[in-house]
Symmetry: C2
Subunit: 190 residues, 2 copies
DNA sequence: TAATACCACCTAACATTGTTAGATAAAATA
DNA sequence: TATTTTATCTAACAATGTTAGGTGGTATTA
């Protein structure tokens, strides 16, 4: 009797459609316009159904943050597999953040908004990956890797956030500035 | 007939009390809990009165951002008056941002949230002040000052935002990391 | 097969929100 | 005193998050 598995799959599909609906609305009208009713409308159900999959709006938003982190981690891991030169890896990891903000603006906003607390486990994992890159990059062992990773992470986020805020993500000059800042950072640590 | 001026002053006082009320609620319950009705309640008026001073909620929020920027600019100007060594000035300017986030957490959140567009004129003025400090700091003239200021600004904000998000503003170790990052930055540019 | 339990889903309501139109009553002016 | 202006309020609108409880069909059991 595989019908129980089919049900499971259908449930998963609905859950997924809720997440997609929320993202779609956010892309089109911004997160402030995302309401449980609009989501329900879009998936052609009534609001209480949404509450069967997510305890409340905050719960849904947290899941959406996880979606963002999963994409970032996936990009990071494929990136280090394709590239062995640590300097190039770090540059690619930096650009990945930029591209993430371009390709998934709604997720970027959610994951990196000051209002929302970090999902620690996720951030730690991402930092570990970048930590491994930086470890190879620098020669002298007098500086704490953790500090360097945190420094890198904050720098990247600071720049990308500013680009988002000032609507400069597609500005070539600004992107050039981004590259230069990464270069400056790398020069500074090795 | 000075009554017209008194009226003016009273109006100014009410406007100010609206701003204060909004900040108070934000400090106690977060910005998502700030409503026009709660503000009206707190200043002992009815909601429509608030709309006589601010076109709408967004308008009020923008004014609140300006309040934040005014504080920052004031701090920056007094800071450069008291200190002539550019390196120390830059460190102080950096710490000022940190303290701003501690002393006015609600304003920090508003001014630096990714959701809200920057108020360009304000940001440009702040960057000009910091630009003057950095100009004195570095010797070689091959690098663009604007780039360096932007780099500094994004780095500082990236770190402070992260501290806010992870609730580490009062963490001494994290603050030490902040100092080290500034030092690293300064070492890199001069 | 009939009765029962369960499941998916919905209706309808609650309090709270941003915002506005229009009323009221006091103060200022004529 | 009559009229205009000003300050303020009441009451409503539609939209929001969220929940209690109903409905009608499907599966399970007697």
């Amino acid at each position: 009797m595989g019908s129980i598995e089919r049900k499971q799959r259908e449930k998963e599909a609905i859950r997924n459609s809720i997440i997609c609906a929320a993202r779609e609305i956010a892309v089109q009208e911004g997160w402030q316009a995302v309401s449980m009713r609009k989501i329900a409308d879009r998936i052609e159900y009534t609001p209480p159904i949404v509450y069967e999959y997510f305890k409340n709006k905050e719960d849904l938003f947290k899941e959406l943050c996880l979606v963002g982190h999963r994409i970032i981690r996936k990009e990071l891991t494929t990136l280090i597999q394709q590239q062995s030169d640590p300097e190039k890896s770090l540059i690619e990891a930096s650009l990945m953040h930029w591209n993430f903000a371009i390709n998934h603006p709604e997720l970027y906003q959610l994951v990196f908004s000051v209002e929302r607390p970090t999902i620690n486990e996720e951030v730690i994992q991402e930092m570990q990956i970048v930590g491994n890159i930086i470890k190879k990059l620098k020669k002298e062992d007098n500086e704490d890797i953790k500090d360097l990773v945190l420094n890198w992470s904050c720098l990247i986020n600071g720049i990308v956030s500013f680009a988002v805020k000032t609507d400069n993500l597609k500005n070539i000059e600004f992107r050039e500035f981004f590259r230069k800042s990464i270069t400056r950072y790398i020069k500074g640590i090795k």
